[in-house]
Assembly symmetry: C2
């Protein structure tokens, strides 16, 4: 379950991991300068309306405020060896107070870099982060059931479906479909 962080590359804010193709992916904390690289594919994925519970016509300001988190939240980018930012994830507490031991996270991979293992590298990184921060579990609140690649990826990373909100998501071609709530202990 380790993200496979290579000690020689690891720093407190960045770590290279090997994706399933055995190619290095750099996962590092996002900064303001990354936003121009994130926004085009974030907008594309949200506008498609197939996987995200965000307004399809979301504005750049709202998207940026929502995506680039301050502590206790955190946002990272995944960069390919040539520096191209191919995906991003944000992670944060899912609840507060007596339920603050539950983390949550969201992921966006640039469709142009699909199939490269970026989502898996980000998922493993987020789990490592949550463990190191002392969270006891990770919960995803809204995984669209027709997003079968994501569902399969999270299952392969140890998540189970806790429950499914019936007709919880209006898909542009499938109509109302379920929204999975997924969970795993850490």
């Amino acid at each position: 379950m380790s993200g496979g962080s290579t000690a020689a590359f690891a720093t407190p804010s960045a770590a290279f991991v090997r994706n399933p193709h055995n190619v290095l992916v750099l996962i590092r904390k996002a900064n303001d300068k990354d936003w121009p690289a994130i926004w085009p594919f974030l907008r594309k994925v949200v506008a498609a309306g197939e996987t995200y519970t965000l307004p399809r016509d979301i504005g750049e300001k709202q998207a940026r405020e929502l995506w680039l988190l301050e502590p206790p939240g955190r946002t990272v980018v995944a960069a390919k060896p040539d520096g191209t930012i191919a995906g991003t994830a944000k992670m944060n507490p899912n609840h507060q107070g007596p339920a603050a031991h539950l983390a949550t996270a969201s992921f966006i991979v640039d469709p142009a870099h699909s199939g490269y293992g970026i989502g898996r590298a980000l998922g493993e990184h987020v789990l490592d982060w949550a463990r190191s921060e002392g969270y006891r579990a990770m919960q995803f609140n809204a995984v669209v059931e027709t997003n079968t690649r994501a569902v399969a990826l999270w299952r392969s990373l140890g998540f189970e479906v806790l429950g499914t909100v019936p007709e919880g998501f209006l898909h542009p071609t499938h109509g109302y479909v379920g929204l999975h709530i997924m969970h795993r202990h850490l």
Copy 2:
């Protein structure tokens, strides 16, 4: 399932409902002047740490920002016939975009007015509001499983448990207990 709104009393922002004891309860939109009445019992309930996923030592400013919602959210108070504010509820979209048809809500009843039907009156009001706003379902994200009165109330109002986050809540006497995700169609 109607909140039993009495036309003679109803206004766009306030409605009397009869609680199970056949006593009128006024449900109306909360305003800034209600906060001094809400804060003492909100603080007491949150500090007890048995039912709420908020910091037990929550500050007044944070609580106020979190509780008094602007549109598309809404916050109401429940007043007894003598004007005493005995409970409050807030309601808002649970997700955005393609899942914006799901509403959620939170409730706090002053323990000093427990057993008077305030929670039920607020629950029925919230369901009426969500229907009138065009939501298709109501979802509660974190109902502590040991809060058996609340679980029974929501079941009696048509909610079902979609799933339970195992060990999702650290209860001061029961230790880690489950957090129910509850749902009903509208």
